[in-house]
């Protein structure tokens, strides 16, 4: 397990003088589902294209299974890509599309036939051999693109926002399909997306990127529950990010009220940022609340109510709760200690981009 399959070491890349990747290092272990997550322009697709061989980094190394592969063209690399726009060959039928890579490798006809059957079964499109590309829906085309890639038995499958063009329902179905495929095939997936929900659902490891830097890397739970900086907290799900003062270990002061928490090691009377997820705020009787505010906004969202509670200092707390508080009513806010996440304050704008741990 411990062996890493792909190692990116100190990758720099710029386009026309604009820095896209700045000293990026990343290692991917065999048989994991790694997601590069970030807003558009954060360098996630460029990272994928460097691994795939479609871009060359300005400096740094790409190590694949112990070998430096920066100089290898895409057709010599043991990995396959599923492109954002499917990129199927429209002048070929489905079987010919899937056979493309195998034919180049000089595989025998029966072997190719078997593989096509197997791949179509794997993506739940049995019997589609002779269909034309145009006759397929977006979701079906995407599955053929995946089939076309996996018949080559790559050790790594690169996926560049493969579900971006699909509608919500189909996207959710495909997420489960991808998890199933990964488990059945036992190959490494590197997945690029800007959709945090997709990333949380499918990944073993999420790499949050912004402005060419890795902001945080960890399991979905770590990324969601313990964001290391304001960018991650804000990008992954919704959150309340408020300024606070760490009075001492396990006690933080927010807007003059003292909250018990579980974080340690920030020092004494240190200014920090505090992250509290909207669903972690409990609404209680004003007399029992740590802070007291007035409900200023209320929307019914189906699963829960979305409310804004304005405290006297003017901060609007976003709250998700199944309890409803009518607009204009006073209400108390209570947060359990383990639901409070403390982050160091960035010293400057620059450091905010770099991330706290760099």
């Amino acid at each position: 397990m411990g062996q890493s399959l792909i190692d990116l070491q100190n990758i720099y890349k710029s386009f026309d003088g604009t820095m896209v990747l700045d000293d990026l290092s990343l290692s991917v272990k065999e048989n994991t589902f790694v997601t590069l997550l970030g807003p558009s322009g954060c360098g996630k697709t460029t990272t994928l294209r460097i691994i795939g061989g479609f871009e060359t980094q300005d400096s740094g190394n790409v190590i694949f299974d112990g070998t430096e592969i920066s100089k290898l063209p895409p057709n010599k690399r043991q990995l396959n890509t599923v492109f954002q726009k499917y990129a199927l060959f429209t002048h070929m039928n489905i079987a010919e599309n899937i056979a493309f890579g195998l034919k180049i490798k000089g595989k025998s006809k029966p072997y190719i036939q078997d593989k096509i059957k197997y791949a179509l079964k794997l993506v739940n499109l049995d019997g589609f051999e002779n269909r034309s590309v145009d006759s397929l829906s977006g979701g079906q085309q995407q599955r053929i693109a995946i089939a076309r890639a996996i018949v080559n038995e790559p050790r790594v499958l690169l996926l560049d926002e493969p579900l971006g063009a699909l509608d919500l329902k189909l996207r959710q179905d495909m997420q489960y399909e991808l998890i199933r495929l990964k488990n059945e095939l036992g190959i490494t997936f590197i997945y690029v997306t800007h959709d945090q929900e997709e990333a949380l659902t499918m990944s073993d490891t999420i790499v949050v990127m912004n402005q060419g830097y890795i902001q945080q890397m960890g399991s979905p739970e770590q990324i969601y529950n313990e964001p290391e900086n304001a960018f991650v907290a804000d990008f992954i799900g919704e959150s309340n990010i408020v300024p606070g003062i760490m009075l001492h270990d396990e006690l933080v002061e927010i807007f003059g009220a003292k909250f018990a928490c579980v974080d340690k090691g920030f020092g004494i009377n240190r200014p920090v940022d505090v992250v509290i997820r909207p669903e972690d705020i409990d609404l209680v009787e004003p007399s029992r609340g740590t802070l007291v505010g007035t409900c200023t906004h209320l929307i019914f969202k189906g699963v829960h109510y979305e409310m804004e509670i304005t405290t006297p200092d003017g901060f609007e707390w976003l709250v998700h709760s199944t309890d409803m508080c009518p607009v204009g009513q006073e209400v108390g806010i209570h947060v359990d200690p383990f639901d409070i996440q403390i982050m160091n304050k960035p010293a400057s704008e620059d450091e905010e981009a770099v991330g706290v741990n760099e």
């Binding site: 795939g52 396959n80 990129a87 199927l88 076309r148």
Partner: protein, 266 residues
């Protein structure tokens, strides 16, 4: 009331269409009819004959000119298609500014007056000591055909996503294999119609050929021109009729070929 008005409008529309058709095709029809006229008179019908056609096919001059015309049209279209397709691929992969500039430059020869292109090519050949003949006509035709090929290949290239090329590479194809198996089939309709357009343009050309041909070599258009100065023989009508029909057929093919292919796919 309205019915009468509608009817009147419809009749007027049909009439208008007929008038336009008459203006466009009456001269050509006249020529075609006269090519079957056994009387040499241009005003009197002397009975149906094919003698002008047999005379035309028997004439050494005309057959030589026909051979030259077809050879030059075919070769120039073929070479222009290869060069033009390669150029399109290069231009398409350029950044926006150089691409716009280069497209502008390739468009100039098309907008340029033929007589200017013809004279300047002739001067260039003479200045560089290339004797005028078959080869200079061929070079000239390749030159003016390239822009037409680029113009018909370019839109097809823009339609094909660069990701299909990358996908082919990703699946193990070398750049050349990827081009011939993935990119080329996608742009083939554009390449074919570029070839046919170039072929027709070459077949059609008189002015540029006239200036670059030198003595002793004729294409059909230059032959007709020189014959006309000595008085028009009816075999020229027959020849013109043949040229018109050939060009018409080529245009029909180039217009319908890509459409038929698309219809096949669905």
């Amino acid at each position: 009331m309205n019915r009468i008005k509608d009817n009147f409008n419809r009749i007027w529309q049909d009439f208008y269409l007929v008038i336009i058709m008459v203006f466009l095709y009456a001269p050509i029809a006249t020529m075609m009819v006269l090519s079957f006229n056994s009387s040499k008179s241009r005003t009197q019908w002397g009975g149906f004959t094919l003698q002008w056609y047999t005379q035309m096919f028997a004439s050494r001059n005309i057959m030589d000119a026909l051979y030259n015309t077809l050879m030059i049209a075919f070769l120039s279209a073929l070479i222009a298609t290869v060069i033009g397709t390669a150029a399109s691929i290069a231009i398409n992969s350029m950044k926006a500014v150089p691409r716009t500039i280069l497209m502008g430059i390739t468009n100039i020869p098309m907008l340029n007056a033929d007589i200017v292109t013809g004279i300047s090519l002739m001067l260039a050949f003479i200045a560089f000591g290339i004797s005028l003949g078959f080869q200079t006509v061929l070079i000239a035709h390749i030159t003016f055909n390239i822009p037409y090929v680029i113009l018909s290949v370019m839109p097809k290239l823009k339609q094909t996503s660069r990701y299909t090329y990358e996908a082919a590479m990703d699946l193990g194809a070398s750049p050349i294999y990827a081009f011939f198996h993935v990119v080329f089939p996608d742009i083939l309709p554009g390449v074919l119609s570029g070839f046919l357009l170039a072929f027709t343009m070459s077949l059609d050309d008189f002015i540029i050929t006239h200036f670059t041909r030198g003595a002793g070599i004729n294409t059909l258009s230059t032959l007709i021109y020189s014959e006309v100065r000595r008085g028009i023989k009816p075999s020229m009508y027959a020849l013109s009729t043949v040229i018109f029909v050939v060009v018409l057929l080529l245009l029909l093919i180039s217009n319908f070929a890509p459409r038929r292919k698309q219809a096949d796919q669905t």
